[in-house]
């Protein structure tokens, strides 16, 4: 979200240049403007550099060193990266993360849009419905994981009790590599969709009703109106939501601690969870730094696509 808040600096120097003041005064005016601008930027810059840029550089540096038991650092170059390339758990986590992203992002966005359109109409119990859709968002992830753990517990969990009604045998939902990822994806969609719905709802309420009326006078079907008018106008929101969904698919790991610890056999492990394990359980901070660099590169790539490509293709009102 921070990426979207970057201030667009208005052309201060243009303003100064166009004003008809004597040259010497114009020079000092420009200088003061520059000082002013930098002073205004200073608090944000200090925060960004201390908490974002410096840690990134330190992480990259740390990934090129290993720390001996006695605390001395030794330069090893790209050794950790080679070890990472040979680490099957890293690849497993990366591939899992890909499927997790693919499973959660489109589905939660589509669901959010449908829900927003649904609760944007005039109907009875609208506030109640909105609240119901939004509730999963306010729950902490740990609580969510515990609730769903109850659904997925083999034999006496809710899902298996339902299966029992149809005479089906219990299924070990989180204990089977084939189903564990699907189970987690469904849970995360449930958790995320309500949050994204709020953004769509806000965007829908900004749209002018004139457009809808004009379209219906022209005889456009509802689907056509949605496809050619509503959805394109919602694109800025969709982009924002999509970026958030991508970031979340890399940073949501709390549920793993409660539900699977990444198992069985790493079938549900995600990159960030693996980083946590390496850093804190194995106390290997340099390898954790190496993995973190990969995560950084992935997320930077997402940001690049957003700013370099998508922003230019989207119509902002």
């Amino acid at each position: 979200m921070a990426a979207l808040r970057h201030p667009t600096t208005p052309g201060m120097s243009d303003l100064a240049a166009s004003s008809p003041i004597p040259e010497r005064r114009a020079g000092s005016q420009a200088w003061w403007n520059a000082v002013n601008a930098w002073l205004l930027l200073l608090p944000a810059a200090v925060l960004l550099i201390t908490f974002t840029h410096y840690p990134i550089l330190a992480t990259i540096r740390h990934s090129l060193f290993i720390t001996r038991r006695n605390g001395t650092e030794v330069f090893v170059g790209l050794d950790s990266y080679q070890a990472m390339a040979a680490d099957p758990i890293f690849w497993k986590a990366l591939v899992n993360n890909f499927w997790f992203a693919l499973g959660t992002i489109p589905a939660s966005i589509a669901l959010a849009l449908v829900m927003a359109i649904w609760v944007n109409r005039n109907m009875r119990g609208r506030s109640f419905l909105r609240l119901a859709y939004f509730t999963p968002t306010v729950l902490p992830m740990i609580a969510v994981a515990n609730i769903w753990l109850f659904f997925y517990t083999p034999d006496y969990g809710l899902l298996d009790q339902l299966r029992g009604l149809f005479g089906l045998a219990g299924w070990n939902w989180l204990g089977e590599p084939s189903t564990v990822m699907g189970c987690l994806i469904v849970m995360v969609i449930w958790k995320e969709a309500g949050f994204f719905m709020i953004f769509y709802l806000a965007a829908l309420q900004q749209l002018s009703p004139d457009l809808d009326e004009a379209a219906s006078i022209e005889g456009a079907s509802r689907w056509y109106t949605f496809r050619r008018i509503t959805f394109p106008l919602l694109m800025p929101t969709t982009l924002f939501v999509a970026i958030n969904a991508v970031i979340n698919s890399f940073k949501l790991v709390d549920h793993l601690v409660i539900m699977t610890k990444g198992g069985p056999n790493n079938a549900s492990t995600l990159l960030l969870y693996y980083i946590y394990e390496v850093a804190f359980t194995f106390q290997d901070s340099s390898y954790a730094a190496t993995l973190t660099v990969v995560l950084l590169v992935l997320l930077s790539a997402v940001a690049l696509v957003k700013f370099g490509y998508l922003d230019r293709r989207i119509h902002y009102q």
Partner: protein, 425 residues
């Protein structure tokens, strides 16, 4: 003017330092404590701590419950790197190499006046903590794996309710009879369950020992995962579900297995004896506890946690910590702890206390884990323990979920372990 200011400052410093100084006798200790079984373990420990404080008003102990063993170790290591380690902690007895490598702990030898104290404990429990002629930990929350069986289920299946399986084959045969299915052919009661999450390496080690195979060397620099007998042990485990259909397929959760047993979903379970009292208090049916069945021999790894004292503690704190450990492991307290939880009391003297003798008379299940000690082997403990445990646990899970054959899964774990352990040789 200058002099006056100096005087004022001196007075301020004096006031400050007096405010900071506390009664010379009071020593604060923070202890991290892991909980791995059911039942009110935290309450029991809190109660013992407060009684210790009553006996020793000059020492204050704060127990911090940090989750299971892995979580507690993670917390201790992170706190240490953050500069605020606890002064003592109960951690897996097998974490000793890692703690030594991290320079986190002190040997207890130098802190006690009389080293004959070490001889009071069962040697099997001391084994994990004595390295290079030094004693690095004192056993407390210690266990072995035992087999729990549901006597009602045995009766129902036409088996002798007083006789647990003594061999691997017998366990399979009995399990086949104990299986119960409903009208549509779904299993409502399994024969046996062995947990695969959390402590899969521990269960695999038990099977390997019974098959006559050790899983590591004493120096903690090698693991023997691809030895034919280790592979055969995992084969047997996997066959229980895949071939004989007496154990549920997929992974079996350590934490919910006790509930499975109590709900009658399984007729037998392999679990730590630390769960004994929790099972006893909640079971609505008569149950028995037995040593694990044998293949070539009986056997179980020891397990559980020991007390460690951290290097960064001040000499007074280390002394106070020893005092606390001595109080906690004294025979009466060890007996009390064992009766309240099911963990094995750590010294033979504890079993000779009157309370324990009477308890064991009425509830013979309480001494099974202790009797098994003569067949026990130290728990898997090597350098880089956290990593190796993960490799072995992953291999076990890969095998029981059918995503890899036992041979392949263990070969991959062995290769990864070799790579990590190379640095420790």
């Amino acid at each position: 003017m200058f002099a006056r200011r100096t005087m004022l400052m001196a007075a301020a410093f004096a006031a400050l330092s007096m405010g900071a100084a506390r009664p010379a006798a009071a020593v604060d200790l923070t202890m991290y404590y892991p909980v791995a079984v059911g039942g009110p373990v935290t309450k029991i420990v809190d109660d013992m701590v407060s009684r210790f404080e009553k006996d020793n008003p000059d020492i204050k102990v704060t127990a911090v419950y940090a989750g299971n063993y892995t979580d507690t170790m993670t917390k201790a290591m992170t706190a240490m790197k953050g500069g605020q380690p606890p002064q003592l902690s109960v951690l897996l007895s097998t974490d000793v190499f890692t703690l030594m490598d991290e320079n986190a702990i002190v040997p207890i030898d130098g802190l006690v006046s009389d080293r004959s104290w070490f001889k009071e404990f069962y040697p099997a429990f001391m084994a994990n903590g004595q390295i290079d002629g030094k004693t690095w930990s004192i056993p407390f929350q210690r266990s072995t794996i035992v087999l729990y069986w549901n006597k009602d289920a045995f009766k129902e299946a036409g088996l002798d309710p007083e006789k647990a399986p003594a061999s691997w084959d017998e366990m399979v045969e009995m399990s086949k009879k104990l299986i119960k299915k409903d009208g549509s052919g779904n299993t409502t009661r399994w024969g046996v369950e062995i947990p695969t999450t959390g402590y899969g390496y521990w269960m695999l080690q038990a099977l390997a020992i019974e098959n006559g195979q050790k899983m590591m060397n004493e120096a903690g620099t090698e693991v023997h995962l691809t030895a034919p007998k280790t592979v055969a042990a995992l084969d047997y485990w996997v066959d229980l579900s895949r071939k004989h259909n007496v154990m549920p397929a997929g992974s079996i959760d350590w934490a919910t297995l006790r509930t499975d047993f109590l709900e009658g979903k399984t007729a037998m379970m392999w679990h730590t004896t630390g769960n004994l009292t929790a099972v006893k208090d909640a079971a609505k049916f008569p149950f028995g506890v037995a040593m694990l069945p044998a293949k070539e021999q009986r056997g179980s790894p020891t397990g559980g946690g020991s007390f460690y004292i951290f290097k960064s503690a001040s000499p007074e704190q280390q002394k106070a910590a020893v005092k606390f450990i001595q109080w906690m492991t004294a025979p009466e307290r060890a007996a009390e702890w064992s009766m309240k939880t099911g963990y094995v009391a750590v010294s033979p003297a504890a079993y000779k206390t009157k309370a324990m003798e009477e308890y064991a008379k009425g509830f013979p299940q309480a001494t099974v884990a202790r009797d098994q000690l003569e067949h026990a082997v130290p728990e898997l403990s090597v350098h880089e323990n956290g990593r190796i445990y993960k490799f072995v646990n992953d291999a076990v899970q890969a095998a029981v979920t059918g995503s890899q054959k036992p041979q392949e899964a263990l070969a991959s774990a062995q290769a990864q372990s070799d790579r990590v352990l190379r640095a420790s040789k």
